[in-house]
Structure formats: C-alpha cells, structure tokens
Amino acid sequence: MAAVLEAVDSVVDKQPVIEVKDAVKRYGTGDASIFALNGVSLTIEAGEYVAIMGPSGSGKSTLMNILGALDVMTSGQYFLDGIEISSMDENHLSIVRGRKIGFIFQSFNLIPRTTALANVELPMAYQGVKPKERRERALVALDVVGLGDRIDHEPTELSGGQQQRVAVARALATRPALLLADEPTGALDSKSTADLLDLFDQINAAGRTVVVITHEDEVAHRAKRIVRMRDGKIISDELNKERVA
C-alpha cells in the first residue's frame, strides 16, 4: 500500500501546506452583515491529518471552501504550499486547485454518465498530463482505493461507498499537496464509513496531508489533530491523544 502510494507520490515539501492568517469572511454589508469567519489563523504542516469540527453555522464549511480555493475571503492571507493565493483571480485559482488540492465532497460530485476511469482521469486532463501517463496513474489510484475491477462503471452503477472511493482516487491521482474532504462520510453507511476512514489512514501514513471537515466525532477521532470551531472562530486546536503518542 505505502509502496504503491509512493509511486504515485511526489516529494513532500517541508514548508507548511496551509498557512491562514486572520481570515475573515463576511456576508452582507453594514449592520446586517454576518461574519462566517471572524479572524481565523491556522497552520497545517505537511503530512498532518487534521479534522476541523464544529456544529452547523460554526464556519467550518466556509473555511473548507476557502482552504480549497473554491471561495475567496473578505480579508486575510492564505498561503497554500508556499504560494499566496488570497490575491489570485478565479482563472489562476482553478489551476491551483487542479495542481495542489484533491477534493472529496459529501455528495461525491462525480461527472454523471461518465465511467469511473474517465472521472479519475479528468483532473489530469485539465492539467495537461499525457493520455498514456494519465491512464496509468488513474489505474493505479483506482487500484489503491480497491476499485480496480470497477473502472468501466458509471456513477449510477456504483454504491455510495464506491462512488466516494472513486472521488478519493480522483483526488489522489493528481498527487495533490493537500487532500481536502468535506463531510466525506455524510452520505455513507457505517461499513463504507469505516472503509473510507481506513483509506484515509493509509493515505496519511504514506505521507499525504489530509484535512477532513466533519461534525461526527467518530470521523474526527481518526485524525491526529482536532480543530474545533464555533461562531466563525477557532475555540480549540489540540493533538488527538488517542492517535498521537
């Protein structure tokens, strides 16, 4: 497993993967404005496995969108893998997303009516990876998530757990600096949830940085560091004693 991932993997940098300074996200203006994020600072080093927790409305999804370069913040700075992206325009952000981040969404977000293999290959196509290499890396990634025999299935022909594993393979295949999962188990049964969390453990063990946004304790407690949020602020940030000696 680790050997396989190493084949897929690139050199892991020593600088922080995520460095957020005083992030503010405000919706609306004046008195009616709401601070979804109210001065969040967070540093995540390479190879960490972090869970961001909090009830709904705590700002964790907003933070996830900003970490994933899917949304921009109102003020503050964000360095992803050493590159400041808080001032980038949407077109550059899409390139950053493709090269630096692997997404795993609650609702899987696979392209409909497209095979698992094509779904995994898609981000690499946008990055300009050659078709032959793309195919090889996609096959390896699908093998890693245990779907080597399902490559020609379309999303509707796969179970929720299998679809999510296709999404993981898609995220892994681009060799991202950061694997970002937003409520990845939200739509899965307990068996699939356990399988997926095992997969995350393995991916992290292979040296990959993993950030999981969740409100489930079961999921959060598999991480090595737990960040808790409430009302747009970080209220606690501690190592998970069960997992880190």
Binding site: N65, G68, L70, D71, V72, E90, N91, S94, I95, R97, G98, R99, F103, F105, N109, L110, I111, P112, R113, T114, L122, P123, A125, Y126, Q127, G128, R170, T174
Partner: protein, 406 residues
C-alpha cells in the same frame, strides 16, 4: 490541455446526452428547412406568375384603329380616321426609326363558320396574318408546321387551327393534312397550335389562322386591318417601342399638335406592372412568415441551449473544482453548441433541398439561394451565441456557487 482533448470532451458531452442532442438538432433542422422551403414556395409561385405572364407576351403591343376613349371626342374625330394598313405595318419594321421593335404582324379579322362534313364550328378567333404573328402572340404549334412567308406571298389556302376547333371539326382524328371549309373557302390544315387555355371570356384554342393575303383575296377583300401586333425586343423596352411606333404612325397619319390620334396602343406592360406588384406582395408576405418561423426557430434553439447549460451548471462546478480553467469549459460548450448548430443547419439545408423537390400546394418550389445562407447563418449564430453566452457565465461562476446549483 490540447484542442483535440477539448474536442473529444465536446463529442463525449454530445454523445452522453444523446436524446437532448437529437432533439436540439431536430429543432434546428426544422427551423432551417421550413425557412428554405417556405421561401422556395413563395419564389416558385412568383416564378409561375412570371412564366404565365411571359406566355401572355408581356413585350407585345397592340395597335388598334380609332382614338382612345369613347363618346363625343371619339365620334367627332371619326371622319378623319385613317385606317391601319399593311403599309403602316411595314413602316413599323424600320429599324432606324424603331430600334426597339423586334417584329410586326398585321391582323385582319373575320367571322366565319368552318365546316367538315356534318361538323361545324365558329372560331372565336379567325385571323389573317403573317409569320411574325407567332412569336409576337406567343403562338406555337404542337403538330404539323407553320405557314411560311412563301405561303403568304403565294396566298396559299392553308390554315393553322387551335385544339378546340380541331376537336369540333375532326374529333379525335389527326387534323393535319385534312381539309375544311371556312366561309365557303377550302383550306388545308397544316398545323395544330399548342393549347393556350382560355383568357377571360375567350377560348384561346378556338382559333383559325390563315395567311393575310389569302384572307384578303378570298374572304374579306381589301378591308383595313383590325390590329397591328408589335413585339418589342425585350419586356423592358416595351415602353420605348410604344413611343417609337406612336411617332411613326403619327407621322404617317398626319397627327400633329392638338389633333387626337386616330389609333390606340394597348400595352401589356401595364398588366405586367400589376402582376409583378401582386407577386411582390405575395413574396413579401411569405418572407415575413419565413422570418417569423426563423425567429421562432431561433427562440427554440436559444431555449434548448439555455436549458442545456443551466442543467449542467453543477457539472461545470465539479469541473472547475477539480481544476478546469474557464477557457477549457467555455471551449467545450462552444464546440458542443457549434457542432449542434452545424449538424442541425446542414441537415436543415438537406431537408430543405429535398422538400423543395415536391410540389407544394400546386406550386413547384424554387430555392432562393440567399434563404439557404440566411437560415443556415442565423441558426448557427443563434446556436453559438446562446450556447456560448450562458456557458461563459456559468464558467465565470465561483465553483462554490456552481456546485450549490441543484
């Protein structure tokens, strides 16, 4: 990302959504084809009107003895009316004075009954003339031969007859070479004229044509001409020909100053003007119908393209989230829209061409080349614009907004 890759994505997108692709292409096809066929029908009927006008002989003029109008003035000048003569006819053939006149035929008319055995008929038209008459009056023969200038100079007793006359006298038998008696004189039928149909009250096929010399020698004696038939060189020179012949006849008949002319000229060009005005109105009407159908077709294309993009906003969001640049997404949708429009447009042109081969509502459609380019061009412009514009908006969305789209 290479252009080939984007093209592949576009084809894949079209193939995956087969039903939608098919319906879109069908919509464009119908829009384009209907415009082409509709305008072809309009053009065809306009051409048909033109053709029947040409058959009437729009470049012919008729000169008749007597002043224009009726009543006191006409009667007052009646004493001084000089009849139209063969010499007048010959004078009109002067190429230097009348360069726009192609040829001239005299018409002497009589009433007579023709008899073959027990069969009799009174032709509504019984003319003595010469060969220039054929072209000037658009008369041709379906069987036999024309009488010639030689027949005229020799005053031979030969005749051309129309279909109605032939049927009345000979039934279904071949009339060519048979003899008949008209006004007591025996004629040999040498030609059967092509069916003309009736024009107004008169049956154009109840017809007997004989050399003018024969008529004068045997039936009428030296009577004045009823008409002179004048053919202009072209339909556009009819008016010039009229001016020229009026000048010649004025001089010959001593019409000067305030003296009223003792002859009248009937111009088929006025008929042409009326007919072409009505045919223009008809074409304009059909053009408007075609424009409306193109507009409706365009709205259909717009609608489908908008729905297509809106329906795929979430997919666009996914593609953006996993690193698709705006350009790649926009190109993919633009290419999809272009392929759809092109395919629909080409099929529409093909269907339009095929459809125009059939007779529609009694009209043989004639394709207007401009309508093909117009319909094709407009459908492609609409398809690409309304496929491209919403795609460009969707591609500019932040992925988080596009992903929220359900």
């Amino acid at each position: 990302m290479s252009a080939f890759e984007i093209l592949r994505f576009a084809f894949r997108g079209l193939f995956i959504n087969r039903l939608r692709t098919f319906l879109t292409v069908l919509g464009i096809t119908i829009g384009v084809a209907s415009v082409i066929i509709l305008l072809a029908v309009g053009n065809g009927s306009s051409k048909a009107i033109q053709a029947s006008l040409d058959r009437l002989g729009t470049n012919s003029l008729q000169v008749r003895s007597g002043g224009q109008g009726f009543g006191f003035r006409a009667r007052a000048s009646a004493n001084t009316v000089k009849p139209l003569t063969i010499l007048d006819t010959v004078a009109l053939t002067d190429k230097t004075q009348a360069p726009d006149i192609k040829q001239v035929a005299p018409i002497a008319s009589t009433n007579g009954t023709c008899v073959v055995g027990a069969n009799t008929t009174t032709p509504s038209t019984f003319y003595g003339t010469w060969p220039a008459y054929y072209e000037a009056s658009n008369t041709s023969i379906q069987k036999g031969s024309y009488f010639t200038n030689d027949d005229v100079t020799q005053a031979r007793r030969v005749a051309l007859i129309g279909q109605t006359t032939a049927t009345a006298l000979f039934g279904t038998a071949n009339p060519i070479g048979q003899t008949m008696k008209c006004s007591g004189i025996q004629f040999t039928v040498i030609g059967l004229t092509t069916v003309k149909g009736s024009s107004g009250f008169q049956d154009g096929d109840s017809l007997v044509l004989i050399p003018i010399t024969t008529m004068e020698n045997t039936i009428t004696g030296n009577q004045p001409l009823n008409d002179i038939l004048v053919e202009a060189t072209k339909s556009t020179t009819t008016t010039a020909a009229q001016t020229e012949l009026t000048a010649i006849l004025d001089a010959r008949h001593g019409i000067t100053g305030r003296k009223t002319a003792d002859f009248s000229v009937f111009n088929q060009a006025s008929l042409l003007t009326t007919a072409s005005t009505s045919s223009q109105t008809f074409t304009t009407l059909l053009g408007m119908v075609a424009a409306i159908s193109l507009l409706v077709g365009g709205i259909g294309i717009t609608n489908i393209m908008l729905v297509t993009v809106i329906e795929r906003t979430r997919e666009i969001g996914i593609r953006k989230a996993i690193g698709a640049p705006k350009g790649a997404i926009l190109s993919q949708f633009l290419i999809e829209a272009t392929i759809l429009s092109l395919l629909g447009g080409i099929l529409g042109v093909v269907v339009g061409f095929i459809g125009s081969h059939f007779t529609i509502a009694g009209t043989k459609p004639v394709i207007v080349p401009a309508s093909v380019f117009l319909a094709f061009g407009v459908s492609i412009l609409i398809g690409v614009f309304f496929g491209g514009y919403p795609a460009s908006r969707a591609a500019s969305l932040r992925p988080i907004e596009a992903l929220r789209y359900e």
